[in-house]
């Protein structure tokens, strides 16, 4: 059937202000936070009900039109990059918190609900939603679910996948399915389908609604920041903290470049002369946290820190985190363009990985700022370049690729929390065998026989 027939069918579902087809309207949807990839869809639809999403998917299936679900477009892996002949289903207005049960500690939310809004809605009950990607003030839960987003607190609290109890999904061929339950032991009988769908990058269909687990907000947080003369010393401090049997809620490291950028952006109070900075946070019951914090500060003082700063107030703690969470965008102050990477290495290999990143950066003549979740070995090298210089983007991407392969070589992963998307799909065969990838392709095929849901993401294209 023709494009005209398809668009006219869409116009029977959507009023004109929620069916965008003019180029000026489509530009905003051409890319997500991975701005080096762009594609203009033929239309964007803005559903406000789950039924509209289901009808749209069925229509796409009937007309064999590819579709890309999109929330706030914060994907750093190009996860919501449109396809040229397809449509974008923008889910921001499918954003109702349908139910929040403070006693049973769960909330039922639609895909377009913003991550932080769940915690805000739960706050009056002393509860919160744990996964906290740095984009949490704007990113949506649907995107978090599709890409299994993480954040700074994953070592102790896990990723998005660990906090989703049940889902309602429209599969790519239009069948609506539900799985999981509203028990905190929800996936307890039968295979864990929630686990399979979270992180599937939209390749099976569109999550319409999910039940998320809420946690009691910890009573006490204690945060310490320490400056080191080099990254290696900061890395050794992490090893000694972990080796002592402490389970911090977060362990973060930033290098000079990242620190300087964050300091300039928010005035987080970071020591400027240091080569590396460590942030460690403990949370829990006051009695226990106070005891463990004393031990933590002793360990850090014994680890060769040049300066140790203990956050004394909630405001000081908030400022430390504001600087850390704003580090990516702050790096924009240092360089016109940058590529963010998201590899994972075993924690014990962090020192080796950072030395290699440093060496590669010099080899390519590119500055690399490092911000990372040291507690779980999740690196975020930010490769700085000037896009107006011919070939600079390609060189930056080549360097990024070498860093990813190094992560796999060291026993880690291509991605800790940003997902594979379009950006890393051609590296999948470096991490997985042909058989592993064949099984993934077949799973995609049974859930989406026509290959319409978010095509071009995660699975490597032929020839790689």
């Amino acid at each position: 059937m023709s494009t005209t027939a398809f668009l006219s069918a869409l116009s029977r579902i959507y009023p004109p202000d929620r069916l965008l087809t003019r180029p000026a309207q489509l530009i905003a949807y051409e890319s997500d936070a991975l701005t080096s990839f762009r594609a203009r869809p033929q239309a964007v639809v803005i559903p406000v009900t789950q039924d509209e999403v289901v009808e749209t998917v069925r229509l796409c299936n009937e007309h064999e039109v590819p579709f890309v679900a999109r929330g706030s477009g914060t994907s750093l892996s190009g996860g919501s990059l449109p396809v040229e002949n397809g449509i974008v289903i923008a889910l921001n207005r499918l954003n109702r918190i349908l139910h929040l049960d403070p006693e049973q500690r769960f909330a039922v939310v639609e895909a377009g609900v913003i991550n932080l809004q769940i915690s805000q809605a739960a706050a009056p009950y002393g509860l919160y939603y744990a996964p906290d990607p740095s984009s949490q003030p704007i990113c949506t839960i649907g995107g978090n679910v599709a890409f299994n987003s993480g954040g700074a607190h994953c070592l102790k609290y896990g990723m998005t996948s660990n906090h989703i109890l049940s889902m309602k999904v429209v599969l790519a061929d239009g069948e609506v399915v539900r799985f999981g339950s509203r028990s905190l032991e929800g996936v307890g009988v039968g295979p864990d389908l929630v686990g399979l769908f979270v992180g599937s990058e939209g390749l099976f269909g569109i999550a319409l609604e999910m039940t998320v687990r809420l946690l009691p907000r910890p009573e006490s947080f204690r945060t310490v920041m320490a400056a080191y003369r080099d990254l290696e010393s900061a890395g050794n401090a992490v090893a000694s903290v972990v080796g002592a049997g402490l389970l911090p809620a977060a362990i973060e490291i930033m290098d000079t470049l990242a620190m300087r950028a964050a300091e300039a952006a928010v005035g987080a109070g970071y020591p400027q002369e240091a080569r590396a900075m460590l942030i460690v946070e403990l949370d829990g019951e006051a009695e226990q946290v106070d005891r463990e914090f004393e031990e933590l500060v002793d360990l850090i003082q014994a680890s060769g820190a040049e300066q140790v700063i203990v956050a004394q107030t909630d405001e000081e703690r908030a400022r430390i985190w504001q600087g850390r969470k704003g580090a990516f965008s702050a790096v924009g102050r240092l360089s016109p363009d940058y590529v963010v990477q998201d590899g994972v290495v075993p924690r014990g290999r962090l020192g080796q990985a950072l030395a290699e990143i440093d060496r590669l950066g010099r080899e390519y003549g590119l500055d690399v700022a490092n911000v990372f979740h040291a507690g779980d070995g999740n690196l975020h090298p930010l490769i700085l370049f000037d896009g107006s210089v011919e070939g600079a983007l390609e060189r930056a991407e080549e360097l990024a690729g070498k860093i990813l392969k190094m992560c796999v070589d060291l026993g880690g992963s291509l991605t800790g929390e940003h997902g594979i998307g379009v950006e890393k799909r051609d590296y999948m065969s470096y991490m997985f065998s042909p058989v592993d990838l064949e099984v993934m392709a077949e799973l995609r095929q049974v859930m989406d026989p026509k290959g319409l849901a978010n095509p071009g993401k995660m699975l490597p294209t032929a020839g790689h």
Binding site: C154, G158, L196, V344, P346, M428, V439
Partner: protein, 363 residues
């Protein structure tokens, strides 16, 4: 005579050459799961045992699927670490693979979650004899479809696990448990719910109905010196006046032994069917009323029920009426899964990929 696998590399051939159906069997600690009614051959997995990699500073280990949990727990304990979800039936010989396939977590799942929250990666052989890897060995990973989680609770219906990687945590340096008596389940549940919503951190929070009272059992973990004060604080939170003492307090070896018998199901009479029922605490009173003749224990503040009784029909009716599903682990009842069942339409799609020729039992 069951076939035995000696090495992961043999399993693809075993799967391809089998003409009937195969069911992998590990330690046999959950007999209800390894008894199948259709024409089905058991594949003895016990030789696929041993820890392959364990780096305590990484908080991760990788082991062959049929490594006994006892061996793993001993090794972890030597480094001050543990699997926080309290795998069950360890003493009865439960293996890592069986724990994943049955999704069997005990009282400790209250604190940090269950099997799905600690599994990192797997290798398995699917029904077409392909050796497949999914997930990874590092604590954070978002690459590819997560079949490692899918296999949690898969009951050997989608593939044969050969190798599993897990995240572990530092073990609290000391534990203390105590219990309070309540007259009714409603009272005990209301208190458990208040506790579970509070920032007071418990390793386990169980409700144990007995003939005319219900025990609320709480387990604390952490630095030894803080435990007494933390228990007193919880007692005050529960509304006890002044210097009230808990009705029961367990410490040291006695405390460890108490939880061992809980997680070994020593409280279930021999041969009696035991069902695991995940549920929402809101429907617990309605369920409990209808199964007052059973032996039962509610874990994770009422999110996970373990119910043992010979009258399976009554339990089944109650589960159906309340929209719940139960999985049998112990005993000789005919039905493995009772109640409202699973998400079959999606599972059938996955089955088409991983077991198109029906080499493993039906879901």
């Amino acid at each position: 005579m069951p076939i035995a696998a000696h090495h992961p590399a043999e399993i693809p051939d075993i799967v391809r050459s089998t003409t009937g159906r195969l069911l992998p069997v590990g330690g046999g600690s959950k007999p209800a799961l390894t008894r199948v009614h259709e024409e089905c051959e058991q594949l003895d997995m016990r030789r696929l045992s041993g820890i392959l990699e364990y780096e305590p500073e990484e908080y991760t280990f990788t082991a062959l699927a049929n490594t006994p949990l006892q061996e793993i727990e001993t090794e972890l304990a030597a480094h001050g670490q543990y699997l926080p979800f309290d795998p069950v039936l360890t003493g009865a010989g439960a293996t890592l693979g069986g724990t994943v396939a049955a999704n069997s977590a005990g009282a400790g799942r209250f604190r940090y979650g269950g099997v799905r929250d600690f599994i990192l990666g797997i290798r398995f052989v699917d029904g077409r004899g392909r050796l497949v890897r999914s997930g990874g060995k590092v604590v954070k990973n978002a690459a590819g479809f997560d079949l490692a989680k899918f296999m949690v609770g898969s009951l050997g219906r989608f593939g044969i696990l050969t190798e599993v990687s897990f995240k572990v945590f530092p073990r609290p340096r000391a534990f203390l448990s105590f219990a309070q008596r309540y007259d009714s389940l409603a009272d005990a549940l209301a208190q458990a719910t208040r506790l579970a919503c509070s920032p007071l951190e418990l390793q386990a929070l169980d409700l144990v109905p007995d003939s005319d009272e219900v025990l609320l059992v709480a387990r604390l973990g952490g630095p030894a010196a803080s435990l007494g004060a933390r228990m007193d604080r919880i007692l005050r939170f529960l509304g006890e006046q002044g210097n009230a003492r808990a009705d029961f307090v367990w410490e040291g070896e006695e405390e460890a032994a108490y939880w061992r018998q809980v997680n070994e199901f020593a409280w279930v009479p021999d041969g009696m069917p035991l069902f695991k029922v995940p549920l929402n605490p809101a429907c617990l009173p309605a369920l409990d009323e209808r199964i007052s003749h059973t032996h039962r224990r509610y874990m994770a503040a009422g999110n996970l029920a373990w119910i043992a009784g010979d009258d399976v029909a009554t339990l089944e009716h109650a589960l159906n009426d309340l929209g719940l599903t139960g999985l049998q682990l112990l005993g000789r009842s005919e039905q493995l899964i009772i109640g409202t069942g699973l998400a079959y339409p999606v599972l059938r799609r996955v089955k088409q990929v991983l077991d198109p020729d029906g080499k493993f039992p039906e879901v």
